[in-house]
Each structure stands twice: as C-alpha cells, then as structure tokens.
C-alpha cells in the first residue's frame, strides 16, 4: 500500500494520478474466517483494524449490507468529545479521545481530527452546577474541562444572543480537546488500514441469519452473498441492532430512532467551535468546506427510514435561532436522517450476547461517532480475548437486570428522552 504523504501526492500528480490504488480491497467473501464483524460502519471497521493490529488476527471479514460508511458513520455531525459525567462512561470516552489524538499518524490517513473545542452553553445556576459536576468528574478522570462564565463564553462566541434570549446564556462548559473529525475519512481510513492488514471488506453483503452448531453456539452467518462461517461473530450494526439480534433470536434493550442532521450553504469561517444549546436541542459546528453542520433532538418515534419530519426540523431551527440570531439568513442546504440504536439508559453495550460466540456492540444512541476508535479497540479486545476491556467494563448487557444503569440524563427507560 502506498504511504500517503505530500511527496507521494506530488509524485502521483506528475503521473496524472493514474497510479493510485483502491483505498481498500473490495473483497469477495471467503467461506470461512476466524472472526466475522457484521456492519461496515466506523465501529465495525475499527474493530477489524484493531483485531489485526493489536491482536494479530487478520482472518477477519467485515460484512456490510450496503456500502461502507453508509450508515450513521456517514450521517453524523462529527462531534468528538469526552465530556461525560458517569464513571461507567468517562474512562471509555477519554480513551477514545486519546486514540483520536494519534489516529491520523496511526492510520496514515488524514481524518481531519480538529480539536477546536466543544462548548456546552448553560442557562441557569442549576445547569451551571450540573456542568460543574460533570467538569469535575472529567478532571478526576484526567480529561480537560473548563467552566466558563458569561464573559468567557462571549469571548469565544460573541455572536450568541446575550441580550434578547428567552433563556439567557449564563456560562458554559468547554472541553478544549473536543472537536470534530471528518466522518467519511474515518471510515475510509480504518477500511484502508484493515484491508492493508488482510481483513476482507465485503460490501453489498447483508447478514440474513445465523448458523448454530450442535451446542447452540454461532457457527457463521447466512448472507445475501452466501453462507460464511466463523466461530466468533461480532455485531456492530448500530440502528439495526434489534433486527440482527432478532435474527439470532434475542432481544435488546434498544429502540431504533431517527435523528436528523442539517448542513447549510458554504460560508466563510464564522463558528469557531462546536457549540451546544442548553435550553433546547441544538448543536452546531462548521465543516472545513464551510457548511454549518447542525442538529438537535431525535424525531422521537421508532423508525427505520433514514429521514425525519418537520416538527424536528422546526424545533432545531427554533433552538438555533434562540441562541444565534445571525442564523436567520443562513440557508439550510440539505437535511438527512440516521437510524440510531437508542438504548434504555442512553449508554452503549459492548458485551457477549446470550448466545455463545456472538458479541454485541450496540446502543450508541446519537453519540457513537466519537466512540469509534475506542469502541473498535474494546470490541476487538472482547472478540479476541473473550474478556471485556477495562475501559468498557461497565457496558454490560445485564446491567438493566442488575440495576447498574449508566443514565447520564436521568431520563429512565425511555429511549427517546436520552
């Protein structure tokens, strides 16, 4: 595989870019593998990459029903951060943050990790205190967090509505190391790295059933491209988790919901950070191309259609205008939706399934993009060793039974409120 660098780029330019190779091998499935990863999103591909890189296991196939990155990995608003409150979450997301910080060099692919800072606005004393609690928790876990007062926020984002707002900004919680990454590049970079290490990336290959051995353990999968065998199978299918689990005969504490996102026409740089509204659902950042990428709350009904409806659009735009009245004349260029696996406590699962040989990576809700490297790392660890990685040790499936919930919002068993 050609190493990417400015030199290789210049060399190829000289030959009219005719000598570049495919970024990843578009593999035809072999009859059997050591490990099958279902789902060619960020998590599935990262899992395959780390299986090969960290554990030397490369007889691995990633099976993707469509094109890689066509799920949530290709639809998310690209925010990366590790500003979590609860001890079950924070070490995991902070580990992910650290992986992001070295990802481009590791992958030799520019995923445009941009640590421009994530600013959560607060609008009341109680909210400030809740942010202080979270910021303190982050600091205890070795992450960075800065509590800003109103003037501190104004210095960063003078264009916010400080005067007329219905819910005036009183301050904010800033994670300077947070930011964004180029979502598609993350997919392609992991695919390239995995493929280069021998992993088969199989597209247009939908898993339609599971093979079981005499003992009931999984032995392979049925797919739209035939039967493929493997003794260990990991599912990382995000919004489709319940469907794939149903194929294997078990249920997950998950509902699939649609989250919409939006991009504006391209503008010269105007929004320096990632900014989130605290009195409504709205978050925004500006892509390197100049589009304002923004979103808000989920549509709130179960859905497998990658699109939403107007109420959520109205809500997002109202919330945007509530804090950034300059947005009025910015035009929305495109809207789309992604199907997320909303779990019952808002936190993910990386665990064994109730069936031997099958492993679950699911429940990422609207926040799994930032988890991509660590999710892949920890899921690979679980698949390779059979034991949970310590950073992901709280993400157990039985926590709903035992009551060891990881409910950042305190919303309860109501997925659409997380």
């Amino acid at each position: 595989m050609t190493r990417f660098s400015i030199l290789s780029l210049m060399k190829n330019a000289a030959s009219g870019h005719r000598n570049w190779q495919p970024t990843w091998r578009n593999a035809t499935p072999r009859p059997d593998y050591d490990i099958i990863v279902i789902g060619g999103g960020g998590h599935g591909l990262a899992t395959a990459y780390y299986l090969a890189k960290n554990h030397g296991i490369s007889r691995v196939a990633v099976l993707e029903k469509g094109w890689i990155g066509g799920g949530n990995a290709g639809r998310n608003t690209t925010i990366i951060r590790s500003n979590y409150l609860l001890p079950g979450n924070e070490p995991f997301y902070e580990w992910s943050m650290k992986l992001w910080e070295g990802l481009e060099q590791d992958l030799n692919y520019n995923t445009m990790v941009s640590q421009r800072g994530v600013l959560n606005l607060c609008h009341s004393d109680a909210q400030r205190d809740a942010y202080a609690r979270r910021g303190n928790a982050m600091r205890l876990h070795g992450a960075d967090a800065v509590l800003l007062d109103r003037d501190g926020v104004r210095r960063i984002a003078p264009f916010l509505d400080f005067d007329q707002a219905r819910f005036p900004v009183t301050g904010g919680l800033l994670q300077p190391r947070g930011g964004t990454a180029r979502h598609d590049a993350v997919v392609w970079g992991f695919a390239r790295g995995a493929s280069d290490r021998g992993v088969d990336i199989v597209q247009n290959c939908e898993v339609t059933g599971f093979l079981r051995d005499a003992a009931g353990a999984v032995a392979g999968v049925e797919t739209t491209r035939g039967t493929i065998r493997a003794g260990r199978i990991g599912m990382a299918v995000a919004g489709n988790s319940s469907r794939v689990a149903a194929l294997a005969g078990f249920r997950l504490p998950i509902e699939s919901h649609v989250l919409q996102a939006f991009v504006s026409e391209a503008l010269k740089p105007v929004i320096p950070n990632v900014i989130t509204f605290g009195a409504g659902h709205f978050y925004i950042s500006q892509s390197d191309k100049g589009g304002l990428v923004f979103g808000g709350d989920i549509d709130r009904y179960n859905s497998y259609a990658s699109r939403g409806n107007l109420p959520a659009v109205e809500d997002v735009c109202e919330s945007g205008m509530a804090i950034m009245p300059m947005l009025g004349r910015v035009r929305m260029l495109r809207s789309w939706g992604g199907i997320m696996d909303m779990s019952m406590d808002g936190s993910p699962v990386i665990d064994r399934a109730p069936i031997d040989g099958l492993y679950v990576n699911a429940g990422w809700c609207y926040g799994g993009f930032k988890a991509t490297p660590a999710s892949g790392w920890c899921f690979a660890h679980l698949l390779a060793t059979g034991n949970p990685h310590e950073a992901a040790s709280a993400y157990r499936l039985d926590r709903f039974r035992t009551g060891h919930l990881i409910d950042e919002r305190g919303a309860g068993a109501q997925p659409n409120l997380h």
């Binding site: 249920r251 709130r300 179960n302 497998y304 409806n309 109205e314 709903f400």
Partner: protein, 83 residues
C-alpha cells in the same frame, strides 16, 4: 407527519408524545418486570405503538404504523385497545 387521533382527527405529530411498543402489559410476577420495562418490540415494519395527545385531548392512543415507511394504518384509544 399527521397522527390520526381517534377523538380529535388528524393532527400534527408535534402535538403528541411518543412512547413506543404498545404491547407490554404490566406484569404481576417480579421476574417479568425487567422485560416489561426494558425489552420493547423494535420491529422494522408494522408496529402498534403508544402516542399521547399531550396538546390535544390527552388521550393515550395506540397507533399502527410501519417503521420503515411511516405509513399509518389506524389508531384507537389505548383504553379501548384489544388487550
């Protein structure tokens, strides 16, 4: 999206609050509570689900809707729904 409230008629979805699978019945046996609280049907296809007409008649209704197309096949008051 319009939700056909059996009492009010078709209404903008913004008037409603959603609560997922309408099937679970509150159990009497303790060991069934985990499933009741945490395991709700999440099919890709037709589904009977609960909506609350919060900014309308305040009825909980059971709507049958396809989660792939969002097509709605009907709705009834939850208290009348077949149990």
């Amino acid at each position: 999206m319009r939700i056909p409230c059996p009492f009010c008629g078709d209404r903008d979805a913004r008037e409603f609050v959603y609560r997922g699978d309408a099937a679970p019945r509150r159990p009497t046996a303790d060991d069934e509570f985990h499933d009741y609280v945490y395991l709700r049907a999440n099919p890709a296809g037709a589904m009977r689900e609960l909506w609350y007409h919060a900014q309308g008649c305040r009825s909980w209704i059971v709507v049958t809707r396809d989660t792939r197309t969002h097509e709605i096949f009907g709705a009834e008051l939850a208290k009348d729904a077949a149990r």
